[in-house]
Symmetry: C2
Subunit: 316 residues, 2 copies
Amino acid sequence: MQPGDRAGLHVLGLDGGGSHTQCLVLNGSGQEVGRGSGGPSNHQSVGVEAAQAALASALAEALASAGHPALAAACFGMAGLDRDEDYRILRRMADAVLPDPPAEIVHDTLIALVGGTAGRRSGVAIIAGTGSSVVAYAPDGRAARSGGWGHLLGDEGSGFDIGRRALNAATRARDGRGPQTALTERLPAAVGVPTLEALADRIYLDGWAAPQIAALAPAVLAAARAGDRVAGEILAVAADELALAAVATIRALGAQEQAFEVVLSGGIFQGSPEIIERVRQGIARQAPHADAHLPRREPVWGAAWLALQTITSPRA
Amino acid sequence: MQPGDRAGLHVLGLDGGGSHTQCLVLNGSGQEVGRGSGGPSNHQSVGVEAAQAALASALAEALASAGHPALAAACFGMAGLDRDEDYRILRRMADAVLPDPPAEIVHDTLIALVGGTAGRRSGVAIIAGTGSSVVAYAPDGRAARSGGWGHLLGDEGSGFDIGRRALNAATRARDGRGPQTALTERLPAAVGVPTLEALADRIYLDGWAAPQIAALAPAVLAAARAGDRVAGEILAVAADELALAAVATIRALGAQEQAFEVVLSGGIFQGSPEIIERVRQGIARQAPHADAHLPRREPVWGAAWLALQTITSPRA
């Protein structure tokens, strides 16, 4: 492949996640020419059949909107890629929806990093939404992970963690075991019920799962901004946990003295400059040349960019 | 009713809980003359139909073993008695299985206190099993509760809380975010899987509920006894939380300077003198005349004793 050859080529990137699937088609110059979306495609949570249907739907929409170009390369960044068995399942799913060209399958944290840095394959991605996890990639390809253990074993600094701590702080205040906090009123109000007891009933009788607990995080942020110290402390702990997880990966790669980017990805960072600033400071104390920022581009762009690299790199 | 009249009378006590139902028949002198048991009878967790069947089964077994005596009084101590609606449900269930005499329905913490103190209606009951809760009863009938908010909002110091903290400590150690601990090996070993990752898979893929997480507590105790500092700290925090909850109820009743008993009920205290001693010390700092001890008698005995009181007290 020579420079110039790729002007008429197209590549496809896909971001397959637990809440939705995004798909993007770029031309050889890196310009967007098509886009599609679908439902969740994490086979661990929705099952293989539904996940594959979501992939197919997002792919079809993106290819149609791009005018059905021939693809030179494709890359799928997938949630739920934890074990060898997951890779085999995802390989079969990807081949079923896109037999040719075969899609490269990578971890969703890598496309978050590549998208968030607008094209770098090394650095740190902190992902904090309903759950949380951190992955650091070294320029030589080594990787280090921290967190990502799910809500029963970990998820420190995630929306679930913030929501759970807030519920606990409210019950402690109610029982006289902890300091008073506006959370005793704000959490029920956020859900539209009159009391903390009614909220507890709702949570158990309706069988709330992690996303619903995580949805309480904005109420905690609002309470902190209104001056509630307990809520502020919960957010500070969350930020410190995310910074700690990032620092653990940076240390694991021996990168404390290096310059690199840290992408702050996921809903927890959206509209929360307080958390961003505290995470930044926590990382800076251990890795002073780190540059932590919100994502510059979407994860799905990262996937498409990785596909584009495979047709423009010397090995192609 | 005059003294002497009650020699030929019989009373029945029932302990209806989330894991089993116990039933006891005493004669008018307080001697056991019959006993029966059944499955779980917490309608919140197993549903009304199964709960009522468990009550009927335990009752029938106890009455048969006692030779089907006429009953002068009965008392049911029931888990799941949280709201007015629960009382209405339990009232219907109790009347269906024992129309005559109508059973008095009380909270299961009260029969734990009465049984644990071998006959007192005032004092503090700390219940720490899969979940945790504390109730204090004053001699004048006032009551104060702390905890009992379930595993998503509370349950501090419970088996679930200990198990969850231990899992979290193990993942933090594995990631390099926390101190090393033998829990990274002991927790998988306790479940019979080779690694912490395999344990995480088991927990999520099998959809573990609170009782399974709580069942990890003995492994934490074993690690602490073998000198693991992280495990020891988790148990110390649990004990401190239970003491804090007890002190909150004692304060709510203004009983800090009074002498009373504290019953340490539930699996967490069984075979764990370390936890008992630390809870005792935590309470003694705030309520120096409190006497904390393991239960002297079973909760079901407490229920039967309450029934006996209704036929021997002046108001009967």
